[in-house]
């Protein structure tokens, strides 16, 4: 079971590095959401299920929705500036 946690942590590291390196903001947001989901699974493995629930709801749910809305608004402002 400990190896599963190591695999998940390796995935977490890859996610964290690729969030900075990806040029497309939408793609990096999706990677960020995947990061939060994997993080909540890791919380489950180290026996803190209440943190796992909160991470899945806040990190993967609400925060990414707020980021997506911000991205949508920035794109709209760019379109208006372009016209």
């Amino acid at each position: 079971m400990i190896y599963t946690v190591y695999i998940l942590i390796a995935f977490l590291l890859i996610c964290a590095i690729s969030v900075c390196l990806v040029d497309n903001l939408l793609v990096s947001l999706i990677i960020f959401t995947a990061y939060s989901l994997v993080m909540s699974v890791i919380w489950l493995f180290i026996e803190s299920p209440d943190l796992a629930i909160t991470e899945a709801a806040v990190g993967a749910g609400v925060t990414s929705i707020l980021f997506f809305i911000t991205l949508l608004k920035v794109d709209k402002m760019k379109d208006e500036a372009g016209d």
Partner: protein
Amino acid sequence: MFEGLINFVDGVSSADNTHKPSKKKVKKYHHHEKTITERLEDDVLNQKSDSFDKFYSVVAIIMAIIIIGSLLFTVSFLPSFGDPTNPANNIVSEKYIVEGVKDTHAINLVAGMILDYRAFDTLGESTVLFIAASAVIILLFANKTKKEHEAEEKEEQKYENKNDPILRHGALLIVPAILVYGIYVVLNGHISPGGGFSGGAIMGAAIILYNLAFGDKSTSEFFSFKIYKRIIISALMFYAISKSYSFYTGANQIHSIIPKGVPGNILSSGLILPLNICVGIVVCCTMFGFYSLFDREEI
């Protein structure tokens, strides 16, 4: 540009002097002419900023490496995870673990800690969240009258955007399940993992999904700014009053009239269940409030 300038200067100077001058000499020779000087200065300035950019990125990388190294170095000194001789395992946590169920009648020790032993801290956290949301609302509502006309125009357009059949049918299936799960997590906060914050965040996510699928009009039927204000303020007031009562009785050694119940039942552990409900409501409303402030700049 710099090369062209030198070639031009070379040509001028070679007309005057028969021998070919070195580039340094030419620079000095034409230094006093104004236009060329300005162009030279511009060039030098641009070069400076280029070299400054390189310097900046190199120093940034070095600083990042130093910070990462020092953090990893510090982490290597931390005690290992789950070690019984860790400094955190002192007399305080021992008292919580041994006498927690007897004192608070909550099976979930985390809930017993944050809503009974440390309820005053949780009240402060909820108040901080409330004050943050209020400050954002005050700032954004300062020029609301100016924007009211614009908002009406935008509302129709947004409503059409959100009329998506796949999202609607998916939300119709999922939203009730998420809401029920959130209520379950809140109500079982003192028995199973979870509690007010987790359940409130889940319910807030469900309401956000409902808003995304069905638009603002159908959401405002059950959740407007007036309702938001009343719910949050009454929940915080109830929290403060009930906890003041329990602090008052505890400090003066008076017998509290709140029944503790049998540990493990839903209706048990005194004030923890109603306080969990209060925290859940506040967190749910604040989550949705943040979302709608981001989306429409109003609640």
